[in-house]
Symmetry: D2
Subunit: 295 residues, 4 copies
């Protein structure tokens, strides 16, 4: 036994509540029912609750149990989407952790969608989807769904620089160079949308994928015939895009597609190009709400 005053100060010193306590990197297969059939997603989950200042530790095994119970149910009754799953987990976490006032679940998984190339070659394309839910006691749980799309951007700035140079070097072609797409650097681009799903609303991740691919210089495909390659290269050069353009085009498409969503709807859009002429990447990002975008 130690001197009470010491105990007090000791307690006082350490009496800090914690923002997030839980488990990270939990791997689970999840059955998701999509309009076109049931899919197994191999997901990675982070599962947290907060911890009040007067409790030493959180019962983390409950976090894994909650994921087990909810996820294993999906084998019998597949969920509509990962965001539902995350939300259900957040609610059950607050039920199991009586002392917690906040719960949070983050789920990431590879996702596949059948796509058609310009020349109608179909292939199964890979995307990374992400779902997130934040539970607050006596409040509605907030849901977020997101996706990362790998595509292609072509640089508008270098294109014009080259066009000027070519005109000087090839006066015999001259103005005709304004009629054809001109060489520039292009590269692999990763664009991510993470967006709140207002309660009572639905959001189909395939629509987010479509919005992003329409905002890039071009979508990419696993299988391409020779004519497909030429077609995609031309399309990409007819739509030169800065990462700034990609983010703005996505934002504008989201506002249109989800115009009925409230001003409070949170949205993040990030586009990163693995510059082919540099060793570093170029990035543009907007973190905002629908309200701010509508101003």
């Amino acid at each position: 036994m130690c001197d009470p005053t010491d105990v007090q100060s000791a307690l006082a010193e350490k009496r800090f509540k914690l923002t997030r306590v839980g488990v990270t990197g939990v791997k689970k297969p999840i059955e998701v029912r999509r309009p076109w059939g049931t899919r197994t997603l191999n997901a990675t989950l982070d599962i947290y609750v907060d911890l009040p200042s007067d409790q030493r530790g959180s019962h983390m095994s409950r976090n894994v149990e909650v994921s087990g119970e909810i996820v294993d149910k999906t084998v019998r009754e597949p969920v509509e989407g990962l965001e539902d799953l995350a939300a259900r987990m957040c609610d059950l976490l607050l039920e199991r952790h009586g002392y917690a006032s906040y719960s949070e679940v983050d789920i990431r998984a590879d996702y596949f969608l059948e796509k058609e190339s310009p020349k109608k070659t179909t292939s199964l394309e890979n995307y990374q989807i992400r779902a997130r839910a934040e539970g607050n006691r006596n409040e509605k749980t907030r849901n977020y769904i997101g996706v990362t799309v790998v595509g292609m951007t072509t640089c508008p700035c270098a294109m014009e620089g080259v066009r000027d140079a070519l005109k000087k070097e090839h006066p015999e072609i001259g103005k005709k160079l304004d009629e054809i797409p001109v060489i520039t650097h292009n590269q692999r681009n990763k664009t991510t949308v993470m967006m709140e799903v207002p309660s009572q609303e639905n959001l189909e991740v395939n629509d987010l994928i479509e919005i992003i691919e329409d905002s890039l210089s071009s979508a990419t495909h696993e299988i391409l015939k020779r004519e497909d390659e030429a077609e995609i290269v031309k399309t990409a050069h007819e739509n030169p895009k800065f990462v700034e353009d990609v983010v703005r085009d996505v934002l504008s498409a989201l506002l249109k597609e989800y115009e009925h969503f409230p001003d409070s709807t949170q949205v993040e859009v990030k586009s990163e190009s693995e510059e082919s002429i540099h060793k570093h990447n170029a990035l543009a990002e907007r973190v905002t709400t629908f309200g701010e975008l509508r101003e």
Copy 2:
């Protein structure tokens, strides 16, 4: 030429300002002068400014030029710390990007410090340091410095569970089991502090390292003699720690060490244990200000 109304709406649609636009993953060697001599850090930098709604693109080459100018100067006149460097870059970024109202620089690097084991074996230990600065036009630039320390945690909960079991199995030893450290699971732990450095104040990253290592069950070392190993194992088991304990002990030590820092000082502490009995990790985190911690 296209229909003016279209142009207007088109412009309207895309008239979004961007939160962050810039380059990521720029690699640079940086000369830093420490009290005990000059060190070369191999750093990775992310460099951003914001972009107003009426400008299509940011001039990203300026970001790399700024890092080149400021960093190359360090060869002639080494900086005191990475946070100074980040701050100088933020100021120069706002100067070069006349249209920007915000600038941000994030620097990460491996860092080495000579440490002594319990039995006085010295070795050069590795840490990851991080500096961050946020510049706002007509405001003071905010500086942050942080470090990630790899150490060891031993689980208090499993230890007591085992102690009870051993007492039942070995009544002949019985109460004596309260006098010796008992087996439990222990593991590699990564604890990170990221903290604001108020203007006019100084913060030595080596002090943060010391605070974190004192808050773990034990620090770890690259070179250990046999007696060192036994010593460290015993120390670690005499200080069993949950990740929750680690975060709270760090917070409490920071409040003491920097008690003269203002309430506005921002601080993040995160501790993650790569649980040896699970395939997933355990994490605890607090994101707060000195003011909230002092309540």
Copy 3:
């Protein structure tokens, strides 16, 4: 047109055959039929053929087409195992690339297996499986199957060092310390087996997982009740293992389990411990054949 002799020498210079040419990081969902039901694996594939010295480029789109055809078939008729799939792909690759004499396919995927904790708590545990096939024209295709298991090792050396120290400090307990497991450092361990499957033979990856988990100080589990934790900690400390021990125990179990396999059977066993008392890892490895092991 250039001087023939130049052309010859130029050709001579570049007339190099290539060992491997193909695509890496192709992502595919694969349906695998296991005794206990069909599973969807989210796989990552590398697909290569060699290239003769007189041909400039390989038709890489065929590699992706081959994976598409073979893998998509699995939706209708799931394969028995990834090694069958890899072998089928190798054969089809040689068919499609008439100029190739060698083909190679490497597949990696997350894998899940239901396991029971000591106290009969069941959870779905995660493993990484890997399959590999090497095709040679006019030769039998060689198949390999492998798995990485995350488990726990406890250090025998530190344990004895501590035991000696404790005996000195606690003479009143003295010899009784030989009867109980003594504290040491333990940590997360990753052990990998990659093994050839001789033609006409079968190899069940679940058996490899069992062999590895039996060779570790203890297997790990996602969900553990308090009594489970104590039980696992005790088991792990009753089986202290160096990475060297783990590799040798796995090798010896493989020789027993597959004693009918020919001497030519290739096998690699690697065990890496994320040392809790060091910032670096400890690794032991054996790359050999059954013949060498039987000497």
Copy 4:
């Protein structure tokens, strides 16, 4: 005590020698003296010896001590190159591990070199260098040095496909399209050379970097003025390269540059393009000896 026969069989079972036993991921700053001054490299080391069948464990702390002794010396007397350092470590490892017949050291580090853009903008470019040494008792230690260069490749195949398409669409330009570089997909490429340094020979890593950059469609640069960008884009499109071309051009340049190296000289060349029109990469590789290349 247990039944002798059991002991024998038990021993027999586990009497396996191990190929490699040691430590991985050891981080160290290393002082390297280059013709143009001394540089600090932040290196990551793997350090192994083999283990005879009759010894249970290897003394791994000696591996870290050896790296400490040799590397710390570099602060006073910088080494010429990482391969010397790796070789010295291999020799000392065999000295310290009397029971070992083999030793191996692998070192990786970021490396920086000042480069000039087409328009004479200078910037410090980043490369990853690697050194490797293999020691065998009573044999000469073998040294290897390698480097990974990030550059740019443009696809020759898509370029011709597009040229054909453009000619059809723009008959008014027609044949003039043969006189200008035509759009294609280009991307970030990573090309790696790993090469043996015969005893008595020297090999300057900067020469390897030059050879690789000359074999790509274009080198890349951190800082580019607008005219630089146009210049590099044009150069890259005037040198369209498959990964196959890159590997063969590097092999041919190595044979020329090091024509006095013996036939036994081992060399690996690998080129991987992060295809901008696909989500997967394209890879070409040759693993061989100078002798085979000279056939």
